[in-house]
Amino acid sequence: MSLGKLLWRSVDDFIRLCMNILILDGSRQPVAALENVKAELRARMEGKGHELEEIILRNKSMNRCIGCFSCWVKRPGLCVFEDDGQKVAGCLANAQLVVILTPITFGGYSSLLKNALDRQLPVLLPFFGKVEGEVHHALRYESYPTMLVVGSIENQDKLHENVFARLAKRNSVNGHAPQSNSLVVYDKETREEVSRKLDLVLDGMGVTL
């Protein structure tokens, strides 16, 4: 192979490996375990050419989805509320990886995070299609991001953790994620422990940062 071709292939590989990455933090106040996850992700992304958008939802202003469906039948693809919810939708529509962070709340997501996710209806079409044997809304965009959902909890609680993992899985089906996984981190875990867990979960998803 000529030097030119080799060089071109290297550049092409690099471009393909560079991702638009969205981090959505849905904690109402900073949570040490989730801050560790973010620090680890940032450290791994550094100098790799990824484009990172980190959105701390507690600093954003967002109306609730009112189920009006205007984003499907009046302003296709756009919410009636032109606020930070729209910005999150824009990032989601163009990301290759989304990392969602939340304190586990009754097995689910915090209300802050849930509000942002409820506002993502415009990135889908109203039309029904089948995904894994169930009826879901069809894709508006060509591709959707790989999804990693990270929940923090004070101590191990299998009931909460099981519901959380199933919710994350369901969201990935609804969100047409090509790959997905969920991870639970505990309040007292060190950054090294969080790092090891993150390695395993990213590896399982085939994501290299």
Binding site: I66, G77, P126
Partner: protein, 224 residues
């Protein structure tokens, strides 16, 4: 044991309360027939107005609480989750002690099973705040009601009406939601293929009526 007072919480963020309100009104009428006093509260209206204390007071004066909510992204709408968070913060682990908690989900997908995780979140809320979890059910394809009351909806809402009537009796006795009631509530109102066909047609027709029929596939957020 019979109860005197039940609280019906409507969990829809829609201004008109949507299908959740329609079901709440039917359930309220059945409960009133069997001499249970009923109070209906709208969760989002209270939470967004900073009047969550009104919801907490309504819970305090009721023996039985039922939450009727639409499925939003596989879970409960954010305002309902905020209500759950605030209830636990303010009322603690025993805030619901001595009271029964029920939940009915309705989704825009025809399969009622899609609401299972959302109902599990309700179970954990009840457990973590001291309520007695008395059962939950899920309605699939609730949009076929098209905003009509259950009485106006004729045959397609027959099973749902029967299930809610059974639920009303169970609630009045402080009992759990029976399997029979749960099955009736979860039975499809129309066959799945018809729901999908007419649903897709309805979206096209509505968009066309709004003058955007040819823009339904727009990708306004894609980077150029």
């Amino acid at each position: 044991m019979t109860i005197k007072r039940a609280l019906l919480l409507v969990g829809s963020p829609k201004h008109n309360g949507g299908t959740s309100k329609i079901m709440a009104e039917y359930l309220a009428s059945r409960l009133k027939e069997i001499n249970v006093e009923v109070e209906i509260q709208h969760v989002h209206q209270a939470i967004d107005a900073g009047k969550e204390d009104e919801l907490f007071d309504a819970i305090d004066r009721s023996e039985s609480v039922i939450l009727l909510f639409p499925l939003y992204v596989d879970s409960l709408p954010s305002g309902v989750i905020r209500f759950f968070e605030l209830f636990r913060e303010r009322k603690g682990q025993n805030g619901g002690k001595g009271k029964a908690f029920y939940a009915i989900a309705n989704s825009g997908f025809p399969e009622s099973i899609q609401s299972t995780v959302a109902l599990e979140i309700c179970v954990l809320f009840a457990r973590d705040t001291g309520f007695s979890w008395n059962g939950g059910g899920a309605v699939g394809g609730g949009t076929v009601l098209e905003g009509k009351t259950l009485e106006q909806s004729g045959g397609k809402a027959k099973n749902l009406r029967a299930g809610l009537a059974l639920l009303a009796v169970s609630m009045s006795l402080g009992g759990g939601l029976s399997k029979q009631a749960r099955d009736l509530i979860g039975r499809p109102m129309v066959p799945k293929f018809l729901y999908v066909y007419f649903g897709n047609r309805m979206w096209r027709k509505t968009a066309k009526g709004n003058g955007v029929g040819n823009r339904m596939y727009d990708k306004p957020l894609a980077k150029k």
